[in-house]
């Protein structure tokens, strides 16, 4: 795993090993915040932002604090605290510096603390033994991959809500899961290009 280049990991984590479509992470917010393209875009941006920062931070915390102290078994608690603290800091910085960015991202940031994809990415990078640049690429790539998936779904749902009639029992989560299955089927087409696991 070590010898794979950072760019390959970046590409693979967007397309072939998409964190949502192949690892099912971040499903809750994916299902509930995909009604409109605008909100999906805001949440997507926030996830890309937070995931890139937290993957790097968690890499540093794990290899420079937990491993030297032999406290690897505390990784879950450490990662959660790092993620929660970073989200809080990012929120404060955005609030002070950019009103426009805060208006579009602000409400989504607290949601991200409990997004499984963010914690999941951190755990994957430890299990797969990525180095610093690979972790950075993996974080950014997974975030972008997640955003791609939610944007695709939001676009389809926006069109569907205007034109299509769905069977009552299938409305809401049912039809969204079927659409997601079809999107995932499409993404399997990429899997011949490069494979990380």
């Amino acid at each position: 795993m070590q010898e794979v280049g950072a760019f390959v990991i970046f590409f693979a984590s967007i397309f072939t090993s998409n964190i949502l479509l192949t690892n099912f992470l971040g499903m809750c917010s994916y299902l509930s915040v995909s009604r409109e393209i605008k909100t999906a875009w805001g949440l997507g941006l926030a996830v890309v932002f937070v995931m890139t920062i937290t993957c790097v931070a968690n890499y540093l915390v794990y290899y420079h604090i937990l491993v030297p102290l032999q406290l690897e078994y505390l990784e879950y608690i450490a990662f959660i605290i790092v993620i929660a603290a970073l989200v809080q800091v990012v929120e404060m910085i955005i609030e002070r510096t950019s009103d426009r960015l805060y208006a579009s991202l602000g409400i989504f940031l607290p949601l991200i603390t409990v997004n499984c994809a963010v914690l999941g990415a951190a755990l994957f990078l430890i299990i797969r033994k990525y180095d610093f640049y690979q972790s950075l690429a993996y974080g950014a790539g997974s975030g972008i991959g997640w955003m791609l998936a939610i944007m695709a779904l939001a676009g389809i749902r926006a069109k569907m809500s205007r034109r299509s009639k769905v069977i009552p029992a299938l409305e809401g989560p049912g039809i969204v899961l079927i659409i997601t299955g079809i999107i995932a089927l499409g993404f399997i087409g990429f899997s011949g290009i490069v494979q990380i696991n």
């Binding site: 479509l21 992470l25 879950y76 959660i80 997004n115 499984c116 809401g172 399997i188």
Partner: protein, 205 residues
């Protein structure tokens, strides 16, 4: 407590089933539903985590500051998941390796935090424990059903035991899209059933 324990239990398992009603918390567990054994271990882990977390949060509810409740609940859940993770590594090392990061992801499973936020924080420890167990059991039943169908169609076996007849394996069922389609079908059937019984009740009145 005006609500009886039996009602809490039934609510969690069927009427308010986390998957049919809310489609919550599928993130971490859906990923392992291509093998029945892994799903069963994961579900037992979830039942344990949900039960003890609900109980602890409820027992500590009077001394937890309101503003800090989410982070304190999350840390309580994380502590129990660490216990679970170490237990699995010690006694079931093979399954633990296959589950990989998904055991840790029980922490951010929306069901655990959802039940803690919605029920335990306002109720006494014993009802909270019952609620925790029953909603996790309701959730596990659905996932085991999905796992049996996925492994059966995809590998031609159930919990590692081959089915007695031969057929062409549906490889797609053990890949990611199969899980999405199966979950959609299960949610569809459950909602259709729910709507039908509601209508029947309306007409009988």
């Amino acid at each position: 407590m005006a609500v009886s324990s039996k009602k809490i239990a039934l609510d969690g398992i069927w009427y308010n089933n986390p998957i049919f009603r809310q489609v919550l918390g599928i993130c971490s567990t859906l990923a392992v539903t291509n093998l029945v054994t892994n799903t069963a271990v994961m579900c037992l882990g979830l039942i344990y985590t949900n039960a003890v977390s609900c109980f602890t949060v409820s027992a500590l509810r009077t001394i937890t500051p309101f503003r800090l409740r989410i982070i304190s609940s999350t840390l309580i859940i994380a502590a129990y998941v660490i216990v679970l993770h170490n237990f699995l590594m010690a006694y079931l090392p093979e399954i633990s390796a296959q589950l990989g990061p998904y055991v840790g992801l029980i922490i951010t499973n929306c069901i655990v935090l959802g039940r803690v936020e919605a029920f335990s924080i306002q109720n006494k420890p014993i009802p909270a424990l019952i609620d925790g167990v029953s909603s996790a059991v309701g959730y596990s039943m659905v996932l085991l059903l999905i796992a049996v169908i996925r492994e059966g169609l995809g590998f031609g076996s159930v919990a590692g035991i081959s089915l007695p007849f031969e057929f062409t394996k549906w490889t797609i069922m053990v890949m990611a899209p199969g899980a999405f389609f199966m979950l959609a079908i299960v949610v569809w059937i459950a909602r259709w059933w729910g709507m039908r019984t509601e209508e029947a009740q309306k007409t009988s009145k």
